[in-house]
Amino acid sequence: MMAVNREPLLQVSNLKRYYGGSSSWLRAGRTIKAVEDVSFFVRPGETFGVVGESGCGKTTTGRMIVGLDRPTAGSINFAGEELTTLSAEEWRIRRRKMQMIFQNPLSALDPRMTIRRQIREPLDLHDIGIPNERDAKVEELLDAVSLQPAMADRYPHQISGGQAQRAVIARALGLDPDLVVCDEPVSALDLSVQARVTALLQDLQERRGMAYVFISHDLRIVKKLSHRVAVMYLGQIVEVGDTDDVYRQPLHPYTRALIAAIPDMAPNHRSKRTTLQGDPPSPAAPPSGCHFHTRCHMARESCAREAPVLREIGGAHQVRCHFAEEFAS
């Protein structure tokens, strides 16, 4: 096993991203608070899982980390360097070390380039490896994500959704990054290909110490891969801790609802899943006090007034709820 390094590779602090303002589709004076005060760190060789409701700000957070979107406020420290103050040019140089596997693979691929060229070009651009070995490297990458060689000469619209997703993974991993933001990286893959791709990610982590921010709606995959996991709701982290702890004893009512809704695989007892009631609130007008109070079955009067802070409940387990102790036994 590699040497254990405790210095965080990535430290995100009080990150915010607001969209809107006067020129937007929103009513005057309203902004979408896509990400509101998010802080976390990731160590080399660690997988940090991120889960949460659709629209809660996961992709926005990931895009800011890799420099595709500028934070409204907050800091992003990567390998000891503050990134938010860098110029665009300085960014470009560092980008190689931080890659993103995009949620919408087809939009992330250039429609006019063959798959081979999309994977090869970044290698040339960043001068990775010896030029006449790069073709072999491309073949190796395709094989690693189980894409047949015949796919290499196709254009993005000539391959399947899952094949496009794997092309994006091959392109990101080819640059030998230190950190990969994986945004729903295996959502379009069947379980057998999924298992091969996740084994590849784990293998690279073991051998190279690659770190992952792993965003997914698949709570089973997150459980299998992540050392720690954060749960987001409406732009905020509401719970974070070691994966086993969070799954075994979820302390935030939203996390409890999520875990209770993991589908069963048994077709015989098609039980009604307990699902979260109520509508997802608008990030343009988040509920007062605790953002979750409009849907929380535990909510009391004070919840609509006082915003809970993310606080430690035993060791490394942090929760944003006034009454988290009631679930901790």
């Binding site: 254990v4 589709w25 929103l26 009513r27 160590r43 660690e46 889960v51 409701e53 659709s54 629209g55 996961k58 992709t59 949620q103 087809l106 939009s107 015949a150 000469d153 000539q158 399947s160 959704g161 899952g162 094949q163 794997r166 959502s187 379009a188 069947d190 379980l191 057998s192 290909v193 298992a195 709606h217 698949d218 709570l219 089973r220 995959i221 459980k223 299998k224 891969l225 050392h227 720690r228 070691d242 994966t243 086993d244 799954y247 609802a257 999520l258 809704a261 993991i262 069963d264 695989m265 048994a266 077709p267 015989n268 098609r270 899943r273 699902t275 997802p280 609130p281 608008s282 007008a285």
Partner: protein, 277 residues
């Protein structure tokens, strides 16, 4: 799985593509049928021909592709024998489609409100203000917060899962008799996913809608399917009622899929950084 009067039957479908490396036979002899008010789920390997089969049903194969055999019957009518105008009428009101790639299939230069309005204009008799009301209602049905405001936004201003739900709303705007949904819930968390599945099941009973559902998520299959088709390498390797396919799978591939479900009771990787000093 042979229905008396299926809404859709696919018989011996074959599809091929011209590629740089020559003609590639992609879908071989695929057959299945879907009964009224029934849900058929297709699962299978990535690249096995699930999306191509849907494209063939809708007559929307890419320019380099062609149906090389078989026929497709919708309510007993051969779609292959229809003119483009007749097909156009069936797409939308007869067969609604939710594509796998929402961003690529929704027009980026129009607001979501305009996209919904166009679908309603084309396939309903509603007047302008009723269409507006209906559009808001549809976004609300698929759990988009603040629907009045969101009508004015463009798809790229939505999250991945919200764009996916907009696609579903547009397909439902036409109240189709058959909804083909290609991986419609990949970007949805479990609670919103459960609500969308519930919505589809509700429409199934209320409107008498039938569903052709493509998914990698076996939990979704367990929840939705009446019948299941398993595809691999462009062929059907197994087909039958849900309980039969899940409880007594006949093909090794189906067994391997069921075995590959990540178990929740195995421990996560240990956090090895805390103990070192």
């Amino acid at each position: 799985m042979t229905e008396q009067n299926p809404i859709l039957s696919v018989e011996g479908l074959c599809v091929g593509f011209r590629t740089a490396a020559g003609f590639a036979d992609t879908v071989h002899d695929v057959s299945f049928s879907i009964g009224h008010r029934k849900t058929l789920c297709i699962v299978g390997e990535s690249g096995s021909g699930k999306s191509v089969t849907c494209q063939a049903i809708l007559g929307l194969l890419a320019g380099n592709g062609a149906q090389t055999g078989g026929r497709i019957l919708f309510e007993g009518h051969d779609l292959g024998a229809m003119s483009e105008t007749e097909l156009e009428a069936i797409r939308g009101r007869g067969i609604g489609m939710v594509f796998q790639d929402p961003l690529g299939s929704l027009n980026p230069v129009h607001t979501v409100g305009r996209l919904l309005d166009e679908a309603l204009l084309l396939h309903t008799q509603l007047n302008r203000s009723d269409r507006h009301v209906r559009s808001i209602e549809l976004l609300r049905l698929v759990r988009i917060p603040d629907p009045e405001q969101r009508l004015k936004a463009y798809v790229h201003q939505f999250s991945g899962g919200m764009a996916q739900r907009v696609m579903i709303a547009i397909a439902l705007a036409c109240r189709p008799q058959l909804l083909i949904a290609d991986e419609p819930t990949t970007a949805l968390d479990v609670t919103i996913q459960a609500q969308i599945l519930e919505l589809l099941n509700h429409l199934k009973s209320e409107l008498g809608m039938s569903l052709l559902f493509i998914t990698h998520d076996l939990g979704v299959v367990a929840e939705m399917a009446d019948d299941v088709v398993v595809m691999r390498h462009g062929r059907v390797v197994e087909a039958g009622p849900l309980t039969q396919v899940f409880n007594t799978p006949a093909s090794d591939y189906t067994k391997s899929l069921l075995d590959a479900v990540a178990r929740l009771d195995t421990p996560s990787p240990a956090y090895r950084w805390r103990d070192v000093s």
